[in-house]
């Protein structure tokens, strides 16, 4: 071995962590998407709505008509099993990444941080040699089998998890979370039906314990997972913490399970070798000790560094916006801000013809599903998109220069509701922008 010449990020390490990750990620995605289908959410989210809150620049991403969405989900489901079994792995990961991301891009309403996480991980997995061992691909083409991979292929997944945890932790360092224990103080009494711990849910100190522990956990768990000596304990805490969150906040869906499964990547190659050896047909080490190497290591290195920089910067873009982040939600998405606030709003829209020849109040239910209305009522960019849609709709109805006004009341983290945006501004004339929307009223 000429170890001195190989940089540490390219050092060959056991492929086993990648193999475990491939199998459990594929299975979890299969279960998660099957749950989605069985709950009828394809219909609720992608068939029923007549209007979708598209992402800026992705307006062309629309749901497929007829059975199209069901076919798309069928393809994604098949791809998850192909990933699990390592069959045509590159094709499977590309299908999964494109399919899943397409679905997520249809409507901002359904944005969840862990969906974003899944898209990112799927993108990374396209480039990883996770099918080079214990996969149908190696059965079909034994020559591709490798027992070692460059260290960075595992490191990049650990990095992605570290980003999620640390940024989620940093986001919790704010006065609402730490000093007022909000939104925990609002949410926990709703869980008073739980056996044994139920009565504690009304206690203020319990909300503080949840808040502080959650913050410390998110900020530091990665470092204990990275340390070999603390790792088993840290993983026990991961499992306990996420099972607890699943029990207390069932609304967050698959997120706890995604994290429990994904954090397995922190364990060593030896651990994963032992884990996989319990599976049928997992041969011992050493039959082909050849290490996997990328054909263009320089290019790969550059891409990985760019990716890392982007991941570090994107969650910080909120720093470019004034006023309160929770109120404005400018730079809020794609930043690992999970379970941070209780925010609710009620929005009354009025469309007026220029010169006010005609005016009508809008019944949001005619345009939006209850979930879309709820999400729109508190998020400025969605309010603007909806206003533009109303403008288009009234243009079609033959109105001249329809103006759109909105009287919106928002309550944030246990405070009373108050006027959210300037109700005298014609939203139809306001452009979508990366800059601060001046029509949002100041938080204080």
């Amino acid at each position: 071995m000429t170890a001195t010449k190989i940089p540490s990020w390219q050092r060959p390490v056991s492929i086993a962590p990648l193999v475990t990750f491939r199998i459990v990620f594929g299975l979890l995605m299969f279960g998660s998407l099957l749950r989605f289908v069985l709950r009828g959410w394809i219909d609720t989210l992608y068939v029923q709505p007549t209007f979708h809150f598209t992402y800026w620049g992705f307006e062309w991403v629309q749901p497929f008509a007829g059975a199209g969405m069901y076919i798309l989900f069928g393809i994604i489901l098949v791809s998850t099993l192909m990933i699990t079994f390592g069959l045509l792995y590159r094709l499977a990961t590309i299908l999964f990444f494109l399919g899943f991301t397409y679905v997520e891009l249809i409507d901002v309403t359904t944005y969840l941080n862990h969906y974003y996480f899944i898209s990112l991980v799927a993108f990374i997995m396209i480039w990883l040699p996770a099918n080079r061992r214990y996969a149908l691909d190696t059965l079909l083409w034994p020559v591709i089998r490798r027992d070692k991979v460059p260290a960075w292929t595992i490191g990049i997944l650990r990095f992605q998890l570290a980003i999620v945890y640390v940024y989620a932790g940093l986001a919790k360092i704010n006065s609402d979370w730490l000093l007022h224990a909000e939104p925990m103080k609002t949410w926990l009494p709703a869980r008073s039906h739980l056996p044994l711990v139920g009565p504690l849910m009304y206690k203020s100190w319990v909300a503080y314990v949840f808040s502080w522990f959650g913050c410390l956990y998110d900020c530091f768990i990665v470092f204990f997972l990275l340390n070999r000596r603390t790792r088993p304990w840290a993983y026990a805490v991961v499992v306990g913490f996420h099972i607890a969150t699943a029990l207390f906040f069932p609304g967050i869906g698959m997120f706890p399970y995604v994290m429990i499964v994904a954090t397995l990547i922190f364990f060593s190659g030896n651990f994963h070798e032992r884990l996989l050896s319990w599976l049928p047909g997992y041969g011992g080490n050493g039959t082909n000790a050849k290490a996997y190497t990328f054909s263009h290591p320089r290019a790969i290195q550059t891409v990985v560094v760019i990716y890392i920089v982007i991941q570090l910067l994107v969650p910080l873009r909120f720093l470019f916006y004034p006023d309160n982040l929770f109120w404005n939600e400018e730079g809020y998405r794609f930043s690992w801000r999970v379970m941070l606030m209780e925010k609710a709003g009620t929005a009354y829209f009025t469309v007026k013809e220029a010169g006010h020849q005609r005016a009508t109040s809008i019944s949001n239910a005619t345009y939006l599903t209850p979930l879309q209305e709820k999400m729109m009522s508190t998020q400025p960019d969605m309010i603007l998109k909806y206003a533009h849609y109303l403008q288009q709709d009234y243009l079609k109805k033959g109105w001249k220069n329809p103006e759109v006004y909105a009287e919106i009341y928002v309550a944030l983290n246990g405070q009373r509701s108050r006027l959210f945006i300037d109700s005298t501004i014609n939203l139809a004339a306001q452009p979508l922008s990366w800059r601060h929307y001046k029509w949002i009223l100041p938080y204080k």
Partner: protein
């Protein structure tokens, strides 16, 4: 140093695992530990919801008796004798309008009893041909329930119609309406008795379909209906200020104002839980005294604003527009409080969808 750190981590792990296990062991057995919520829901079921259904059943029977007298000898006198029982039954209905979940929703109670405006042309053609289906779910306007009775009993030439060429068909139509209403109401009561009551009082969660979730969401929905279909739409809020007086609730009998006040009064009673524990007491338990007193004050402001509108409301839409506008604004303020502040404070969810908690 190292041993201390390991010990700390171990302790943290135990704490969390213990937490997880405790919660897990009880799982979904539903062994409630929250006496307050349980009592509140028992109060809702036993002293508010179920008696309201019984009251409506009783008032419907009284109305049916008066109707039989009217149908036997249709005249201005028997028609006049219908007015009070009709008002009483309709007002009683407003007392169950807000509990449109569980059996009431599965029986399509509100949809059948009170979709307005009345589909006058459809009703007349149904009577002419004898060909109509009351079991169809109603889309926009209604051929049955109170809005149909309102038209059949109290439209301008109602008495002549019952003595005219289609009298027999017309009388059968009225009887069919009663049969449909009584069937669905009885089904609803039976389902509550046959198990839904116990499900209702033991579900202490706040997600969609839970008892507290359904109550708060329906309060908001009902407030929205008061602001929209009951007042705002006939008032012209969706029609460029052009009044559609005949689209209001109880247009022909001119009980519009009584009905909207009955609706809001019932809503206030559901909010306070009457003499027992209600959402108001729950807010106080959560430390939201100010919100609760503001909601109660807003209820009174909205009720006073409605009361200030002179009868009949269908005429006031044009003759006293400012008073109607005030009532509309006060109703909207109350809706905002319930839909935003109360729903948020009680952590009630509106959909089943997964969320990031924002």
């Amino acid at each position: 140093m190292k041993s201390t750190r390991n010990w700390l981590i171990a302790a943290a792990g135990c704490l969390l695992f213990g937490c997880g296990k405790d919660s897990n062991s009880g799982g979904s057995t539903g062994n409630s530990t929250d006496v307050f919520k349980k009592n509140m829901l028992v109060n809702y079921a036993d002293t508010l919801i179920l008696p309201s259904y019984s009251d409506l059943q009783a008032k419907l029977i009284l109305l049916e008796t008066a109707t039989e007298a009217f149908l036997a000898a249709p005249s201005a006198v028997t028609q006049q004798a219908l007015k009070l029982p009709f008002k009483n039954a309709y007002v009683s209905y407003e007392g169950i309008s807000a509990v449109y979940f569980g059996p009431g929703a599965s029986q399509q109670l509100n949809n059948t009893f009170n979709t307005f405006p009345t589909a006058v042309t459809k009703i007349e053609s149904g009577i002419q041909s004898g060909n109509y289906n009351l079991a169809l779910v109603i889309a926009s306007d209604s051929i049955q329930g109170f809005p149909a009775l309102d038209y059949l009993f109290f439209s301008a030439n109602a008495v002549q119609q019952f003595n005219g060429a289609t009298a027999n068909n017309r009388k059968k139509y009225v009887k069919d309406i009663f049969a449909r209403m009584k069937l669905l109401l009885t089904n609803t009561q039976n389902q509550w008795a046959a198990g839904y009551r116990d499900v209702f009082v033991s579900n202490l969660q706040t997600n969609v379909g839970s008892s507290i979730g359904s109550l708060v969401n329906q309060f908001a929905f009902e407030m929205d209906a008061l602001k929209g279909p009951r007042i705002g739409w006939p008032f012209g809020k969706q029609s460029n200020g052009i009044v559609f007086a005949d689209k209001c609730e109880g247009y022909f009998s001119a009980y519009t104002k009584d009905l909207s006040i009955a609706n809001l009064t019932a809503l206030k009673k559901y909010y306070t839980g009457g003499n027992g524990n209600g959402i108001d007491d729950y807010l106080i338990l959560l430390g939201k005294q100010q919100l609760n007193s503001d909601v109660l004050a807003q209820f009174n402001l909205a009720l006073n604003a409605l009361n200030a509108i002179p009868d009949p409301m269908s005429a006031a839409f044009t003759s006293n527009a400012a008073l109607v506008e005030t009532a509309y604004r006060e109703t909207q303020k109350l809706l905002t409080l319930i839909k935003t502040d109360v729903a948020s404070a009680t952590a009630v969810q509106i959909t089943y969808m997964d969320n990031d908690g924002d």
